[in-house]
């Protein structure tokens, strides 16, 4: 029997909760794109990876904290997202899932290998951040960087929730998600909504990447990890909106933490993907309902 130090487990679970918040942030972009546009984007995780490298470049060139680079990378990624939408995605709207998957896998290979060409597979970390200190709460230690990342993610999730429920754009997005034809009849410019949705989804990955870089390193292989992870969360969260994504992200973060504590760090993916299998088999509509 594997014995687990209870305090260590609690410590890992607390870390898992904060990681879960970041996962939710990444997955939210994917959930928006999939939910509103019905586009299957396999390249989502690779935008996180590119964002991480970009954060590294900007932070070390401008000598600013990685978190601050988000003010540059988010608008930039929005533009890139719109450009990718116009150049590629718009042409496969409504195409067979297989074609969408093929095209976004192509996009993924381009992004990933661009990173490989430029950075030669070397992981890069930003050597400084103002949030490098630990915070002790009783016996639990939390790295300030993770705390900040978690809180910022939560705020961002809240803002997107407000955007979706309270603004004209958000209502247009939800109307388009419900029924594209009806939305068009209501006078919504669907193509424009799609472009903005894709841009927004991609720019959220830039924010997540900036946060991740305060405690982790950029690595070309981040793409596959975050890509699959986001899909697992979307499968779990279904179309349960921001709340569904948040809850699923937290569950995944905690499951991962338990996997690390009980078996080993190498088992984290094992636990996540086994959960994925079980969710698809037994709750194919997600924990919070899906179409």
């Amino acid at each position: 029997m594997i014995s687990v130090e209870p305090m260590l487990l609690v410590q890992n679970i607390v870390n898992g909760v904060f990681m879960g918040l970041i996962y939710s942030l990444v997955a939210l972009g994917l959930a928006l794109i999939f939910g509103v546009m019905d586009i299957i984007n396999f390249a989502h995780g690779d935008f996180v990876m590119i964002g991480a490298y970009l954060t590294f470049l900007l932070a070390t060139t401008l000598l600013v904290d990685p978190t601050l680079t988000a003010f540059i990378t988010m608008p930039l990624f929005f533009v890139i997202g719109v450009a990718v939408y116009k150049g590629i995605i718009e042409r496969v709207l409504g195409a067979e899932p297989l074609i969408q998957i093929a095209v976004t896998v192509g996009l993924l290979m381009v992004l990933r290998n661009l990173a490989l060409m430029i950075f030669k597979a070397e992981p890069r970390g930003v050597p400084f951040t103002v949030f490098g200190f630990p915070i002790n709460v009783g016996p639990i230690t939390i790295a300030a960087s993770r705390l900040v990342a978690g809180i910022v993610s939560l705020v961002a999730l809240f803002l997107v929730h407000m955007l979706l429920t309270r603004t004209k754009w958000g209502i247009a997005m939800r109307a388009t998600a419900d029924d594209r034809e009806v939305a068009e009849l209501m006078g919504i410019n669907v193509k424009k909504v799609y472009a903005v949705t894709f841009g927004l989804g991609i720019s959220l990955t830039a924010l997540a990447a900036a946060l991740i870089m305060t405690f982790s390193r950029a690595d070309p292989y981040l793409g596959l990890l975050y890509g699959l992870l986001s899909w697992v969360i979307v499968a779990m969260g279904g179309l349960g909106g921001v709340i569904g994504v948040l809850a699923s992200g937290l569950i995944i973060g905690v499951i991962e933490a338990i996997g690390i504590s009980v078996v080993s760090a190498g088992a984290r993916e094992l636990f996540i993907y086994l959960t994925f299998f079980l969710i698809l088999w037994f709750r194919p509509r997600g924990l919070f309902g899906r179409r």
Binding site: I40, P97, A102, V105, G106, V110, M117, P220, L228, W231
Partner: protein, 329 residues
């Protein structure tokens, strides 16, 4: 009923096509002057072409975007490799055992997956996750140490040689067999049913097709072929480890199948051979300066094919066929 227009259950022209294709491929090592490196590359290309042709059964015929080709291939490889390395068991027995284990995994995963109606993006993700899961499980059992197979100068019993030619010819035979199975399926009830499932599951079911059962058949045939290819592969490389469970190989196999045009095994084989040759060529030239650049080209091809020509290479082949009358049946 006698069918004079068929040989071994496939149309005459397909049968001769396979024979001619295999004979042409057989001349390649001589054309390469038996240069070790080039024959190695040629072996690699035939291996990938066989794998893509096997994938065509689940991906092209049944229309399920399976990304786990490398999982079944790796199961064949690690079982065959470890049995040979630790127990001295000949691959001639090791490969069948590997096939049984790959089949077990295929059924264990495929049965519930098809039972619960998981398809399209979710099937693709599930199979991509399968590769990672198996890789982690292998890693938990064996760690990151790799197993090296014993070396023999020239042993048909242990399938180990100090040259690549025997493997090359073995894989040409394998490719021919995989092609034959593809044609055999296409011209049987199974093939018609798989195609109907690919086009419209609900309509297929309403015509009396037990969709789950036929999907599972396709998955089992594909897993069997992929694991045999894996068993041969391990004898070529002489080493196995958790890295055999490579998610990228699973994805690129599907990519080649898609570029080849779904359902067309000729397109799949062509695309596998062309893309792998291009990949090897680019890796040898610009790839050494810019790692990853060969795969970058891959990505661009995929986007262009997906956006402009979703029918893939197969439509090009059709185009040529229509213009060369004697290629028509």
């Amino acid at each position: 009923m006698a069918k004079p227009n068929k040989i071994l259950g496939i149309p005459r022209r397909n049968f001769y096509g396979i024979i001619v294709f295999a004979l042409i491929l057989s001349t390649v090592p001589a054309l390469l002057r038996f240069n070790t490196y080039y024959v190695y590359l040629a072996t690699d290309i035939i291996l990938i072409a066989s794998l893509v042709a096997a994938w065509n059964i689940i991906g092209g015929y049944a229309g399920q975007l399976d990304l786990a080709a490398s999982a079944y291939m790796a199961l064949g490889a690690v079982v065959t490799g470890n049995l040979l390395a630790f127990y001295g068991l000949t691959p001639w027995l090791g490969i069948p055992i590997g096939v049984l284990i790959a089949l077990g995994v295929a059924v264990a995963v495929g049965y519930p997956t098809f039972r619960f109606g998981i398809k399209e993006v979710w099937y693709a993700l599930l199979t991509a996750a399968l590769v990672v899961i198996l890789s982690r499980i292998y890693w938990l059992i064996y760690g990151s140490t790799e197993t090296y197979l014993p070396t023999y100068e020239w042993s048909w019993f242990y399938l180990r040689f100090n040259r690549y030619e025997p493997f090359y010819y073995m894989l040409v035979v394998m490719l021919a067999i995989v092609l034959w199975i593809n044609y055999r399926i296409r011209h049987s009830k199974l093939g018609y049913y798989l195609n109907a499932i690919r086009e419209d599951e609900l309509a297929a079911e309403a015509l009396g097709i037990d969709v789950r059962r036929y999907k599972l058949y396709a998955l089992m045939i594909y897993a069997t072929l992929a694991s045999i290819i894996g068993g041969i592969y391990v004898c070529i490389t002489g080493v196995v480890g958790y890295r055999n469970f490579d998610p990228w190989l699973g994805i690129t196999t599907a990519v080649m199948g898609i570029v080849g045009g779904l359902g067309s095994v000729e397109g799949a084989v062509m695309s596998g051979m062309i893309l792998r040759t291009l990949e090897d060529y680019l890796r040898g030239t610009i790839g050494s300066q810019y790692p990853g650049s060969h795969l970058l080209v891959y990505g661009i091809i995929l986007i262009v094919v997906g956006v402009l020509k979703p029918e893939g290479l197969a439509s090009l082949i059709e185009y040529v066929k229509k213009r060369i009358p004697w290629l028509k049946s």
